[in-house]
Every structure is written in structure tokens, then in C-alpha cells.
Amino acid sequence: MIGALGQPVLFFLALGFGFGPVYAKAGGGNYIEFLAPGIMAMTILFTSMFTGMEVIWDRQFGFLKETMVAPVSRWQIMLGKTLGGATISVIQALVVFIITLFFGFTPNWTLLPLTLLFMFILAAAFTALGIAIASKLEDMQAFPVIMNFLIMPIFFLSGALFPLNGLPKAVGFIAAIDPLSYGVDGLRGALIGTAHYGLTIDLLALSAITLALIGLGTYLFSKIQV
């Protein structure tokens, strides 16, 4: 777990204290406050996708094979894996959350249940996406491609690291179709009260995307032939 937390915490400390003064000078306020929800969302993105992609390996050489030969329907296995993966991601994000508190993050505690809700839905979305992708792949060779051309863009263009107002149209558009944007925005709204899209839109958009991804994941997973 410590290894997995290394990257988000590193981003948080390096960017938070590195860009902090620049951000404040540009009129943005406290960058640490702005960044913390973004880093939590980052943790969720990476942990969820990895858990989902584990399926590539697991289904041939691991425990998943045992579940696929059992009299259990595929969607039940899929749902179990999604919820389990989401739970792990949320726990990791909460650990990151606690760490950010030590470095000056002062969130609004009254909306904590909403924060947890956003975290969970976001985690479910990306676990399902990871499983969907893993269902189509046979080995880990495609992994670097997915990492660089899917996960990284999703992360960097989501508003996790920078505010979404005033962006060039193209970037703004990509952010608008990026599920992580709504997750980050929702977390930010719940934790520090500033939301670019608005909490309601965030919740609706994220939930809709998550349901669609779970549907896609279930369909592709059920079609796996080992």
C-alpha cells in the first residue's frame, strides 16, 4: 500500500508546494486546497484501473478462472469485482486524504458523506472500465499503450491539477467528456466548496457515465472465452 501511495503523495507535495506560490500570485488562492481533491481522484483513477486490468492476468492464471467455471452468472462476478475494486480504491484515497491533512488541507467536514459517495462512484466507474478493457486483451503487452494514451490524458485533462475556467475550447471539450473531471469537480465541491460544473451536474453526469461503464464492462466480461 505504501508503494501505491507514493505517486499521489509525491505529486501532491511536489506540485502543491512547487506551484503554490505561482498559483497564489495568479489569483487562484491556496493551491494545496485546490490540489488535494485532485490528488485523491488521481489515487482512485490509478488504483481502480489497475484493479480492473488485473483481470487480464487473473482470468487465465489466477483465481478468476475458478469463478468463471462456477455456477455463478458473469454479471455477478463482474459486479463483485467492481464493488471490491472500488472499495479498495476508496480506502487508498482516504489514506491520501489523511496525509493531505498533515500538509495543510482544511476541508469542509460537513459534506463528508457526499465526498465518500463521489469517491465510490468514481472508483466504480474506473474499475468497470479497467475490467472492460481487460476483457478484450490477452496479455499485458498493451498495458503501456493504455497507460500513456488513456490513463494519463484522462488524468491530466480532468481539472485535477488546474482549474477548468478560461481554458482553450479544445481542452475544455476534452475535459467535459472525461469522467474524471466530474469526479474531481464533485470532490472539490464537497470538500472545499468550489465546483466548476456544479455539484448536481457532477453527480448526475458521473452516475450516468458509471452506469454506462458498468454495463459495458459486464457485457464484455460476459463474452470472455478463456
Binding site: 492476468w57 487465465q60 492464471f61 489466477g62 483465481f63 478468476l64 478462472k65 475458478e66 469463478t67 468463471m68 467455471v69 462456477a70 455456477p71 455463478v72 490477452e138 496479455d139 499485458m140 503487452q141 472465452q225 478463456v226
Partner: protein, 266 residues
């Protein structure tokens, strides 16, 4: 009278332009130990995957314990247990937890489940490792645990895909004894694939040999030796399948298995 517990009729499996299984038909009788032999790439693994509902046939029918594998997957799955060639235990759980999970998935009621777990752990000699994490088990212990697990729901058929590969002679011998005991005492049908000829000769009632997607011989060990006029099953096998080493295309599965061995199987 003996009846057929597995019936395979005109089974075909095509992958794009490659025919892995080319119209095979055979039956497995209730209560027998059936060995399925063949060179690498012959279609053995593909056939077992179709028998265990992991893969759908291109054409043909498979009936397992009266259930058609394409129509009633659940019924078929409840009828068999399987020990895979590659380990399929959850390494982060204990021996007990792995068995418990299996029992729950197969709807075995709690009291029965707990009793069977105790019995089976004793049967495979792992009762004192009950609460140990599977990741600390040796290869032989894992295989024994997987056999125990496959039996929790008291299936009619046990599928074993290369069950003793990579095990030392003592463990292999032990496993053969378990298999024979199960077969005799529980009237369990056993379907195994293997490369070890003495294994097939020693425990199987009926042997079928598949090559290039077709069944080329079927019978008892004696019958096959007589048919090919050889003194050992190994020689009979080589006679039937030819001595040439088979060209195999490395599949993604082989690459992945290799990577697993490099990084230490989880």
C-alpha cells in the same frame, strides 16, 4: 448398467482459419477414469475448455451429466469440479477461506459445507494448514488443496488438467492414490489430461488419443498396445502420433505464463 456421463457429438472448434478440434465424438462412462492424451497443440486443452463451459463450440454438442453445455451452463457446472493446469487459488486467503468461498459459490449449505471442508482437508492431508495463507504453500500442497476444493460440492465428475505436472514423485504417487480412492469410494468419474504415460497406464480405464484435432485411438491401455504391437503405452503413443516434434505457435497464453514464472507466480 453403465451409462454415459459425458457425451461428445461431432464437436468442432475453429479459431479464425485454424481448426483446433475437427469433428470429434466420444463418450465417457459413468464411474470410469478417462485419460485424454495427445501431443502439444493437438486440441486437448481446447476440448477440456469446451467440456467445462469456458469456451463455446463452433459446432457439435456436449452433454455433461445430462446437461447440454451450451444450453444449461449452470447445471453442467454444478456437475463437475476442475483442477486447472495453472493455479487458481486466491493466495491472499487461507486454505479454509478458499474452500469456504468455493462452497458458497456452489450453494453448499453451511453445515454441510463446514463438514466437507473438514473431511476434505483431512483427505488431502492439509488439516493442520487450515488457517495458513495459500501463498506460503508449496506447489504440491496447492495442487492438493485445489483437488479438495474441486470436491466440496460433491460433483459427479472431476476434471484434472495435467494434475501432476511439476510435482515430485512422492506427491504424484499420493495424488494417484487419492484419485483412485475417490473413483472407487465415491463412484466419481475422473477425466484427466496428461503427458505422463505411466500415469495414464497406471490409473486410467479408458484412454483416448487426440492429434491434430481428431481422435486417432481409443481403448484400454492393453488394447492400444495390442493395436500398435508395442510393449509400452509410450511406444504405442509415439507409434500413433509420430516421432516428429510438433510445431507450435507461441500464443499470448504462453507468453503470459512465462512472464508469470519470471515474476514469481502469485
Amino acid at each position: 448398467m453403465e451409462d454415459n456421463i459425458i457425451e461428445i457429438k461431432n464437436l468442432v472448434k475453429k479459431f479464425k482459419d485454424f481448426t483446433a478440434v475437427d469433428d470429434i465424438s466420444f463418450n465417457v462412462k459413468h464411474g470410469e477414469i478417462f485419460a485424454f492424451l495427445g501431443p502439444n497443440g493437438a486440441g486437448k486443452t481446447t476440448t477440456i475448455r469446451m467440456l467445462t463451459t469456458l469456451l463455446d463450440p463452433t459446432q457439435g454438442d456436449i452433454t455433461v451429466n445430462g446437461f447440454k453445455t451450451t444450453k444449461d451452463k449452470s447445471g453442467a457446472r454444478k456437475s463437475f469440479g476442475i483442477v486447472f493446469q495453472d493455479p487458481s487459488l486466491d493466495n491472499e486467503l487461507t486454505a479454509f477461506e478458499n474452500l469456504e468461498f468455493h462452497g458458497i459459490m456452489y450453494d453448499v449449505p453451511k453445515k454441510v459445507r463446514r463438514e466437507r471442508i473438514d473431511q476434505l482437508l483431512k483427505f488431502v492431508g492439509l488439516e493442520d494448514r487450515r488457517n495458513d495463507f495459500v501463498k506460503n504453500f508449496s506447489g504440491g500442497m496447492k495442487r492438493r488443496l485445489e483437488i479438495a476444493r474441486g470436491l466440496i460440492h460433491h460433483p459427479k465428475i472431476l476434471f484434472l488438467d495435467e494434475p501432476t505436472i511439476g510435482l515430485d514423485p512422492q506427491t504424484r504417487n499420493h495424488l494417484w492414490e487419492y484419485i483412485k480412492k475417490l473413483n472407487k469410494e465415491e463412484d466419481m468419474t475422473v477425466f484427466l489430461t496428461t503427458h505422463y504415460m505411466e500415469e495414464a497406464e497406471s490409473i486410467a480405464n479408458t484412454i483416448a488419443i487426440i492429434d491434430l484435432g481428431k481422435i486417432i485411438a481409443k481403448g484400454t491401455s492393453e488394447e492400444l498396445k495390442k493395436q500398435t504391437k508395442q510393449e509400452s503405452l509410450e511406444k504405442a503413443f509415439l507409434e500413433l502420433t509420430g516421432k516428429q516434434i510438433r510445431e507450435e505457435i507461441g500464443t499470448a497464453r504462453d507468453r503470459a505464463r512465462f512472464q508469470g514464472r519470471m515474476w514469481g507466480n502469485r
